[in-house]
């Protein structure tokens, strides 16, 4: 018997799903406003396995049905369609009583994507009443045709439960819906009851809530929920009180009268408007309308992207232009290099200063300087100053330095996705990616990797199978990100005298990295089960949309925040640890790296690097510090060789061209940087997997550098 639970660390296994005859059973109630497509959904889910009965003592039909999913039997009860759970009608009483007293393992609330304003009210009521809920947004097909986007992830975060888009009519999204239901039933997906802020009413509700605890007849109801309901004048709850705890009924009525007098409005009205305010705020941030592209434009674009000859070039050109624009905004590449080549180095410097990373770096180093001088003016010890300015601010900086780039990459990714171009790129590149046994969809996250490996790993979520997600995440750090482009540029220009040689070296390193990525993909596909799995392409081609700035903005913000939340702490701690390595030594705080633990590590590692021609402690040390962010490789090389520029540092090391090329290759491939590692770990949460991730990149980097070194030495030209 397999369990779905315990996927997430720290989850309280709250499985209530029972086992009968060796099979797990999950009881699911389907709730929804009338006309949301609930019956359609019920019928497509259970097919012929449905039974009609009666609700006990009522005249309304009770539909039940069963479906089986991977050995788990889901027993569905179709609750009557109602607009609310106020218990004003027989249907509402049935629906509410079922949830409260039968406590199903999961309640699926169906809402209509095309009229969320009206259908969300019921969902909200269910969410306030019950914790194990999944929201199914139905009629997504109709919404897409009208250019409506529903941001499901965002809605899910706002509501605290899974939100799944489905189309009952077309049978779409059912698989994901069932998976979400099972995840909630088993406790693998943590959900919580929604608590709204009722403003002035909250005070009266809190007072009443304390009293309600004394009435045993109410124990099935969440007390805070019951309190608000009683203030609104809920006749069902009043009936319960009248029978079981008459003295409380009087208290409740008094509280309602007081609230009404003191707030100057009927509590029922206040409560309803709180709920509607919540809904309109929710929809304002989760639903966007944008126009659908004209048919002729769509046809033309599809003719290009889906054509046999033009498809792949068009897809690659689109991706590359997006990547280059992101590069230019972030570091000025290739604008800065072009200006320099044309002899306008002052202009190049100016451009560089106003790039995203230029601005962030300036702000961070400015802050560090001010802090350092303030602290030293107060006579704080150098250890503490270094801890604050380099360790703590450095750690914060490590996170902040990544944020703009991650944000930027997601803006572009969101743009491609929102316009519908992304799906076409996946189709066009499928034949290419199939060669390394990945699907066309995998090209997108990997292309993001050229900008930054963090969004690349986060982007693997879109891939259809678990295996493909894992393979792509493993390979992503081999794609040279922009930070590495910066190092490579510096190394290449410092190490090779002619621009042509430098450019050749640069291109060579990119090719080697791509080759390494290809090799690793093939190897992983052989070792990760299921081994025979071949990626099959199945992509929906949504209508081309005029991109909505808001959707893209939210997409980027949500992802950037996700990165901060998940990986922020790990990055901070790891960079503190690296600071300790560089600034502490056997004798305590050290000013020069040569007395630090890092030096000890560097010297210990150096002999290992000798076979690839890099057996120098300065280089080893630089590589160790490059873990924080690959940019640090250069900075450390400069410090370790007591030079003032990268060129000087490299000339002091007197590397031969073959050593230089090997250094470029190794620096590119070795060890995913801290942020990438943190993201990977946050995504999979399996320490062994994270270790394998590091080991794979180290082994591969070493092997390929070794080959590079040997080959370079054998070729007399280099």
């Amino acid at each position: 018997m397999t369990r779905l639970a315990r996927e997430h660390a720290g989850t309280q296994p709250q499985s209530r799903a029972r086992e009968e005859g060796g099979r797990r059973r999950v009881r699911v109630a389907l709730a929804g406003a009338p006309n949301v497509g609930k019956s359609t959904l019920f019928n497509v889910l259970v097919g012929a396995r449905r039974f009609v009965g009666n609700w006990p003592g009522k005249t309304i039909d009770r539909y039940e049905g069963e479906l089986e999913h991977h050995g788990v039997v889901l027993r569905l009860v179709d609750l009557p369609g109602t607009y609310s759970l106020s218990a004003l009608s027989e249907e509402e009483v049935i629906a509410r009583d079922f949830i409260v007293h039968e406590k199903p393992d999961v309640v699926v609330v169906v809402v209509n994507a095309v009229s969320l304003e009206t259908t969300m009210y019921l969902a909200l009521q269910v969410l306030e009443l019950y914790d194990r809920v999944v929201v199914a947004v139905n009629k997504m097909d109709a919404a897409a045709r009208r250019g409506l986007h529903v941001l499901l992830d965002r809605m899910s975060r706002a509501l605290g439960v899974p939100v799944v888009g489905v189309s009952a009519l077309r049978g779409e999204g059912l698989h994901e819906l069932i998976e979400s239901v099972l995840a909630v039933a088993s406790g693998a997906a943590r959900t919580q009851r929604l608590r709204l802020n009722y403003g002035g009413l909250a005070h009266y509700a809190a007072l009443l809530e304390g009293e309600l605890g004394r009435c045993a007849a109410l124990r099935d109801y969440p007390p805070d929920w019951a309190a608000v309901r009683l203030l609104e004048g809920d006749s069902e709850l009043e009936k319960v009180l009248a029978e079981a705890c008459p003295e409380l009924l009087e208290k409740a009525r008094q509280a309602r009268r007081r609230a009404e007098e003191e707030l100057g409005a009927e509590p029922a009205l206040l409560a309803a408007s709180t709920r509607y305010a919540f809904i309109s705020e929710l929809l304002r941030s989760c639903v966007v309308y944008s126009g659908v592209a004209r048919k002729s434009t769509s046809e033309l674009l599809d003719k290009i992207y889906l054509s046999r000859l033009l498809g792949l070039p068009a897809a690659l050109t689109t991706l590359m232009s997006v990547v280059v624009v992101a590069f230019a905004i972030n570091t000025g590449f290739p604008l800065v290099q072009i200006l320099e080549a044309l002899g306008h180095s002052d202009l190049a410097e100016l451009v560089e200063a106003y790039t995203l990373s230029g601005l962030v770096n300036a702000a961070l180093s400015g802050l560090a300087d001010i802090t350092a001088s303030t602290l030293s003016a107060r006579g704080v010890s150098p250890l503490l100053i270094s801890l604050v300015t380099e360790g703590i601010l450095g750690g914060v900086g490590a996170i902040l330095a990544f944020l703009p780039l991650i944000f930027l990459v997601f803006i572009f990714f969101g743009f491609l996705e929102d316009t519908g171009v992304m799906a076409r790129i996946a189709v066009a590149s499928h034949a290419l990616m199939e060669k390394v046994r990945l699907s066309g969809k995998a090209l997108l996250p990997l292309a993001l990797g050229l900008g930054c490996n963090v969004p690349a790993i986060m982007g693997t979520k879109i891939l259809p199978s678990d295996k493909e997600k894992l393979v792509a995440s493993f390979v992503a750090p081999l794609i040279p990100c922009q930070a590495r482009l910066v190092i490579l540029l510096a190394l290449a220009t410092a190490l090779f005298s002619s621009a042509a040689a430098a450019l050749t070296a640069l291109i060579l390193v990119y090719l080697v990295a791509l080759l390494a990525a290809g090799i690793l993909t093939l190897i992983l596909n052989r070792v990760i089960p299921p081994k025979e799995e071949v990626p099959e392409l199945l992509v929906e081609l949504p209508p081309y949309h005029v991109p909505s700035i808001r959707v893209i903005w939210w997409y980027a913000v949500d992802n950037a925040l996700h990165f901060l939340k998940k990986a922020g702490v790990i990055i901070f701690l790891l960079s503190l640890a690296t600071w300790a390595l560089l600034r502490l030594g056997p004798s305590g705080y050290v000013e020069s790296v040569e007395n630090s633990f890092a030096y000890i590590v560097g010297s210990a590692v150096a002999p290992l690097l000798a076979p690839i021609g890099l057996g120098r402690w300065e280089i080893a040390l630089a590589l160790v510090s490059g873990f924080i962010a690959k940019e640090s490789v250069l900075a450390t090389l400069i410090i370790a060789t007591s030079s003032t520029s990268a060129a000087e540092a490299l000339s002091r090391l007197a590397l031969s061209p073959s050593q230089a090329l090997t250094l470029m290759v190794f620096a590119t491939l070795y060890m995913p940087c801290l942020a990438t590692l943190a993201t990977f770990h946050a995504q999979y949460r399996r320490p062994k997997l994270t270790l394998a991730f590091v080991a794979a990149s180290l082994v591969l980097a070493y092997a390929i550098s070794l080959v590079t070194y040997i080959v370079c030495q054998a070729i007399p030209v280099v």
């Binding site: 599809d302 099959e536 392409l537």
Partner: protein, 81 residues
């Protein structure tokens, strides 16, 4: 039993034709996804394009691209050229 000459796989269905799905000879997550998308035995879909890359079909108002490997396993009969 006569051989139905109109019966073929989606991979070989001519572009522009309407085909009825007869059988899906594939058991995987993607085959299940196909069914969820409405490509089920009995459904009639239109082949939008079918050259070298994935086969593009239209089912209802939605378009999908299906890789050739998967398309090979979808048995269809041509309803209308």
């Amino acid at each position: 039993m006569t051989v139905d000459y109109r019966r073929t796989t989606l991979e070989l269905a001519p572009p522009g034709s309407q085909v009825r799905v007869v059988e899906i000879r594939h058991h995987s997550g993607q085959a299940r996804r196909l069914m969820e998308l409405g490509v089920v035995p009995g459904a009639v879909v239109r082949v939008v394009s079918n050259s070298a890359g994935p086969v593009v079909i239209e089912a209802g108002s939605a378009r999908f691209a299906i890789g050739r490997g998967l398309a090979r396993k979808i048995v269809v009969e041509v309803v209308e050229q």
